[in-house]
Symmetry: C2
Subunit: 339 residues, 2 copies
């Protein structure tokens, strides 16, 4: 392993000078600097970031802890984070907690142990202990997508309640009367807010909120499938005529269940999903969704982190981005039902 001492010897200068050349920002005689640069090239020297991090007690790495790398929502968001981070001189490493609080804990511990510069996290659990740990250690944190109760950090969320409301209202406006909801896990703010929006929309439309038409699932495809199956099985006498699914993967799962059972969409059951679905245009019928500005969520989160790393401690910022209803075929009422 070649160190700055090797470079120094080879260039005929001191280690301190090598360090100064490497870091710039300090005046060094151009001649010496040239010798150093040459030596670096000849010896193939690469700075040891570990030693540097230890000495300076700061890193250039961000940990982005997402709750499901297989969900396109998060990967799109990650792109937003990366673009800002890279142009601010940071590198982003992605950690997949897989909706598993234990894995999440481990990654937070790793970020802490490795003294990473900052963390962007979409929490997999409602426990605040782990995030609290980061804060206590002075590690800047931006929480995205999911609210963490009783903790004060920079946050970037979307307007979940309103999004769910416009999605559900749209179904009510179309004339559907038994609108079911496939909600997310009870402990995620994202899920409860969307459920609230669903409820509000129903009440505003003068429709009853029937617990028999609500299922909680896990934000995964499988969960959406099973929730849909359960809704159909348990309401055989008076089946739902529409369903609002609280995230993208569950929407897919619900659709798969409907297709499998030969239930026509939207004529038998209409559907609106929360969050965009990749290649939604190829799915038949095309899916009405409540779109979130995913890339923008990442971008804003990264900007907050950059700001916090640069400047002194300020009050936490809370960003809430808007959602928008994208109406496609799956939610349109078919009055004359073809047979």
């Amino acid at each position: 392993m070649v160190t700055i001492y090797d470079v120094a010897r080879h260039a005929g200068v001191s280690a301190a000078t090598v360090s100064r050349v490497l870091n710039g920002h300090v005046k060094v005689d151009p001649v010496l600097a040239g010798r150093v640069t040459d030596a670096v090239a000849q010896l193939g020297y690469r700075r040891n970031a570990v030693a540097r991090n230890l000495r300076t007690s700061q890193t250039t790495l961000w940990a982005v802890i997402v709750s499901d790398v297989q969900n396109p929502f998060f990967t799109s968001m990650v792109r937003g984070i990366e673009d800002v981070a890279l142009s601010a001189g940071y590198s982003v490493v992605l950690c997949n907690s897989d909706e598993n609080p234990e894995k999440e804990s481990n990654y937070i511990a790793a970020a802490l142990a490795e003294r990473m510069a900052g963390v962007v996290i979409s929490p997999s659990s409602h426990r605040v202990d782990d995030v609290e740990l980061l804060l206590q250690a002075g590690c800047p944190v931006v929480v995205i997508d999911r609210e963490l109760a009783g903790i004060s950090t920079d946050t970037v969320l979307v307007d979940n309640e309103h999004g769910a409301q416009i999605g559900t209202t749209h179904l009510a406006d179309q004339g559907f009367r038994r609108i079911a909801c496939i909600a997310g896990p009870r402990w995620l703010s994202t899920a409860t807010q969307r459920l609230d929006g669903y409820g509000k929309a129903l009440r505003a439309a003068g429709l009853p909120v029937d617990p028999a038409l609500v299922r909680h699932a896990d934000f995964r495809e499988r969960g959406g499938y099973e929730a849909m199956a359960s809704l159909l099985d348990d309401n055989a006498a008076a089946p739902p005529d529409a369903v609002f699914a609280a995230n993208n993967l569950m929407t897919i799962g619900a659709m798969e269940c409907l297709v499998e059972r030969g239930i026509a969409v939207p004529s038998d059951v209409a559907i609106v999903g929360f969050d965009a679905i990749p290649w939604a245009d190829l799915i038949r019928p095309t899916l009405t969704t409540v779109a979130q500005p995913t890339y923008e969520v990442g971008r804003r989160a990264a900007q907050l982190l950059v700001k916090r790393l640069a400047g002194p401690a300020e009050e936490p910022t809370h960003v809430v981005l808007p959602t928008a209803l994208q109406i496609r075929a799956s939610s349109i009422r078919v009055t004359a039902r073809p047979r």
Copy 2:
């Protein structure tokens, strides 16, 4: 920041003893050990991995550098890597090179600088310099999905040529005669092997290999879309009656182009794609694909890395996993064409 010295003082022992308790594997008086454990808990001590890494010159972090986090192929693979890594005591951080050789370079530099334990990479470029760097530095590397010419590392690939061959042969068997190919970038082994398989299948079926029916694109959705458009525009006189698309995202793009132009699949143009497509069952028509064992690719790669980290240097292992044709609706010949 609380260090082992603080813990030592608090527990009334030396720093060395604290270190020994923390690491286990060395006999320590249970009484002292207890005092240390208590002190750690009380002070909220967390080991500084940076210092530890510097001292021991080894890490517990793997860098997984993928060429596109937005491609479900890679995320599924990452899950395979994670599962093995975690159970072997390593943590996985994901780096997205975004098919961009420069970003890839940066991440490799970071992995090197941070002295990560090992690297799993699906190269974004055919340049071997960067990977060579890792090898020279003694950092174990496993290359996945894409072959790197002139470099000797553990590798996990799939049988691309054979996969492309069975996909194309299937189209020929169905009676299609003008089978186009949307190939990937010329410099990726994955792309050239699939193109070779396509060619072989045509020749075996007694069909001509017509350069006018081949397009190279970038393995992204947009690229597939444009390639399809170009195939249709440039062959207006004798359009293709089928197309083999060399990866999942390009298959999607091609489909979107066909749908947009009102070209019926498979009656006007049939399609077979390489690699699975999420919720392929919801797309109409359902898509015939050549499936790869994505999770298994990740798992095997991780196993190779674990082995190399554990044992002494051995000959590089090359794993090639099989592919399988999954026939769905998009490739089935419709003889009596409904109008």
